[in-house]
Symmetry: none
Subunit: 211 residues, 4 copies
Amino acid sequence: MTPASGAGTNRRERSRERRRRILEAALECFTTLGFTATTLEDIRARSGASTGSVYHHFGGKEQIAGALYVEGLRDYQAALAAELVLHDATAGGVRALVRRHLGWVVEHPDWARYLIRMRRAESVSAAEAEIRETNRSFVEAIRLWLAPRVARGELRALPVDLFLALLLGPSQEFTRLWIEGRARTDVAEAAEVLADAAWMALRGDAVPPGT
Amino acid sequence: MTPASGAGTNRRERSRERRRRILEAALECFTTLGFTATTLEDIRARSGASTGSVYHHFGGKEQIAGALYVEGLRDYQAALAAELVLHDATAGGVRALVRRHLGWVVEHPDWARYLIRMRRAESVSAAEAEIRETNRSFVEAIRLWLAPRVARGELRALPVDLFLALLLGPSQEFTRLWIEGRARTDVAEAAEVLADAAWMALRGDAVPPGT
Amino acid sequence: MTPASGAGTNRRERSRERRRRILEAALECFTTLGFTATTLEDIRARSGASTGSVYHHFGGKEQIAGALYVEGLRDYQAALAAELVLHDATAGGVRALVRRHLGWVVEHPDWARYLIRMRRAESVSAAEAEIRETNRSFVEAIRLWLAPRVARGELRALPVDLFLALLLGPSQEFTRLWIEGRARTDVAEAAEVLADAAWMALRGDAVPPGT
Amino acid sequence: MTPASGAGTNRRERSRERRRRILEAALECFTTLGFTATTLEDIRARSGASTGSVYHHFGGKEQIAGALYVEGLRDYQAALAAELVLHDATAGGVRALVRRHLGWVVEHPDWARYLIRMRRAESVSAAEAEIRETNRSFVEAIRLWLAPRVARGELRALPVDLFLALLLGPSQEFTRLWIEGRARTDVAEAAEVLADAAWMALRGDAVPPGT
DNA sequence: AATGAATGAGTGTTCATTCAT
DNA sequence: GATGAATGAACACTCATTCAT
């Protein structure tokens, strides 16, 4: 390895580290102050970068918001998709998905709060294309697991919007309360109730009741 | 009625009208442009009021946002509470509540969008106290209807957070998609599926299955 | 006295009372908040009057400031002039004047602070004419007492500006410190030192030293 | 000097120049229009800086006022302190101080006017800490010169507040009149009278009269 | 890649003042 | 004389963004 390439690697690494620090600082600021109230100066100060540096790595405040959203979304969706493929049994998969959803939120409360708050926010629309792409491949992965099970009658044949609403709606609602600090029930207990409900609402006719 | 009191009444009425117009204009602006992007000048121009008048009636932009939130929340909760007391049968009540939720959203899409967007937003925290009070009396009204039915075993005995999540979570999720224009299913059809799911998730052991 | 004139008197009295209350409130506000920071709303609220009423009695904020200044100035100058004529002995008169100056400030600290702060302030220029007139007759009264004593050589023949500076300059300075809460010496003790100094600085050649 | 450091120096110098120009412009505006009537736009236009630049260097209007006050105060106090140490003879020192006071005011009428107007003004309180520190070291310098002379009986042993009032009170008063354009006496002549008076008022018993 | 001084359009807000009742 | 809703010009200040070094 030549000294030059070594330096290059270091530079690239330092650059990446900068980027990471800025995103980290941004999430902290957004969490503490809210997106609108957070100024670039806040992010700059907390990340230890200079104004110009922030603009070098990202293009502006909205792009930071977008990059953060995409990163969070990918992590969340990757977690759910990865969980799903571990399960063969339909009921087990649905239940696990609900549990994993709650688990991810508990593990990443700041990101979860951010994703909830920023859902479809104008400020994030800069990353629209990437978000769509990310969503597309996530939905595809889910569909791959669901399709044969719907075909076999193990899951109800419902439009996607309703399917989603029944699968994760209650969990989303509970999650929102929990993030706001207004949930009183323990998450693990809640997970069981919510998993049962999701499965009950979605299971197909081919599944004998009480499974 | 003396002339003096008549004049006073007229004045007061015109004043109230002003207030109403400002709120109306604000909602339109927030819907079209988003809260942050809406400037006071936008609201002023659209409502036909002067800058000073806006500040005379409200204290600032945030307070307009707060007043709007409270008004919308009250209307929504009043609609649901009013629906509930019309029903004696437990299943009927639960189903009607879900339907009414969807109905209100369809009837007031701007307010619904606003309530969703502003949920716990910092911009609304000025009205925190009023919101809490409004919520309190709503929850009380609901509890009054639920309590005896839970006691009779017609509804599951669940913590409030989970109860709420199962009752309205899926509808909230569907509603959100619909507001964003991403729902494909017809609302009336969705209402039946969601009402069924809510009832299934909440009915108690004392209710024979298939009711 | 007819009932009508009685009512008229009451009205006039109530009106005067209003005026007094407004001035009083204004002085309190100016003292607490400073002139610039005081808004008409502050004065209105503290005086219990309505916006329109304030404008009926005075013409605006500056006029209130002016009226207050004139009133304070008159009271101060009247006190000094009245003191002077009580004294026949030159040394006694000069000393008494210094003492009276300090006395008035201690008795009316708010007014004193206001007069110091507003000295030649633009905000007071509305009452310029009245101030000039008030000053003129005060200076005249003083001159009447001084002239013969200067002629007799009991007081130095100095230009007015220097005479004033030596007579009240030290007292003004001390007074300013006292008003700001930065004077440590007891006012009565200070009065003696300052009175001595004034007399020493102003006494004419005709007066045997040590008087 | 490396190119980099050269560039840095230039940048820093230009930055300092900016700062200076803004302060200069502010003083001119405050003198002409008064503090309250001066808008940031006035300062901005006269200094040739942009709005943002003004806020980059200072934090706002009050901080400009504060910085200006501190700078003027330092210059004034430095001039007096420097004068004092030139003199060994007590009478000469006291007289020189009075003359220097008047001299500084005549040399810097704008600053003098500003210092008089802003004395303890709320608008300047942002720089309170710096003002106190500046005052402290000035008073210390003065005390160093005075203390032994008081000990030797060449100066009266008086509390600081009275000492100050007798030393500079008359000059302050005269200065105020002069600044307002109401003094008629020539400053040089006045200086002699005021210097004599100060010395007469302050000299101790150990000094033979007529010195 | 980093820096940070400079930019300036845009915003929420204030507040003295008016005037119909 | 009293009231207070309405007015709107004026202001201080913010902050995303640029760019020379």
